[in-house]
């Protein structure tokens, strides 16, 4: 299993494609909490799909003014098709070239399989990691840990 960056660590900045002609940088979101959800691949089975679940839970994340970003090594066109098919209302970032570079920076790359781990990070408004969690690849972690971490930011 990977060694994730731990709470207290400044979140490594990145700039990744979010649409075929647009990039998104982490520092642009400074001032708001950010949820980074690394996941292995687009197109996993529908009902148990982590991104579909988070899409449903977006209003709960928005209560904390948090921005959710999904990240995998899938390419931007793949993400576009996936987001359209699943009606996703948050950005999916393509950690595609150099492959998995951002995941590696966060300690969330699964080398043997060439995919990102199922790893979650909550970053505070100042860009510091406040919570991280590595889930077994086959287990969708749900959102309870994220919500608890967002609540803890207010304390």
């Amino acid at each position: 299993m990977s060694e994730l960056l731990s709470p207290g660590t400044p979140a490594p900045d990145f700039s990744l494609p979010v649409t075929p002609d647009q990039k998104l940088s982490l520092h642009e979101l400074r001032g708001k909490p950010v949820i980074l959800a690394f996941y292995p691949a687009d197109w996993s089975p529908v009902c148990g799909d982590q991104m579909a679940l988070y899409n449903e839970i977006l209003p709960e994340f928005q209560k904390h003014e948090a921005e959710l970003l999904g990240i995998s090594v899938d390419g931007v066109w793949c993400h576009t098709a996936f987001a359209k098919d699943r009606n996703l209302h948050f950005p999916l970032l393509a950690d595609f070239e150099p492959k998995g570079a951002v995941a590696r920076a966060y300690g969330a790359y699964f080398d043997q399989a060439g995919i990102t781990e199922r790893a979650l990070f909550v970053i505070d408004k100042d860009g510091v990691i406040r919570w991280s969690y590595l889930s077994p690849l086959a287990v969708n972690p749900g959102a309870d840990g994220i919500l608890e971490a967002l609540e803890a930011l207010k304390k």
Partner: protein, 175 residues
Amino acid sequence: MATLKIPISDQDHIQGNVKAACTLVEYGDYECPNCGAAYPLVKQIQQHFGPRIQFVFRNFPMTRMHPNAQTAAEVAEFAAIKGQFWKMHDLLYENQHQLGEALYAKLAATLKFDTAELQKALAEKTFSSRVSADFSGGVRSGVNGTPTFYINSQRYDAPMDYDSMVGAIETALAS
């Protein structure tokens, strides 16, 4: 390990023996095909354990994926105040491929409900807060898709087949 954060209460829809040593909770969506597949599985499990378990169903409609899920859940909640939750729950799963107004009217007639009263409750969203409360509680408890099961408050992450689930419940009963 995710755990059930909302305790079982008299607000819940409970089937079986409320004093049983094992509680199986399902967070489900009436339009979700995996929940449809789990429906007969739960029946088999209930039949196998009889009074040794209680079964609780809570709503977790994945509305962006399943446009009929929210209304179907409200229809079941309407039936609940008439004391017919489980009959409606079963009928909705047994007719999962026909979810929609025509089906709800037909099922309401089958259960001898006033269909106008049902339509009014749906139009006024009378039961939407109940369904949302179930959903939020599920999120807190780490529901990670539909269906998500909990056996004595521990999220069940193993395969959803008869042998695996019966085994997990046996283990819970033995501990």
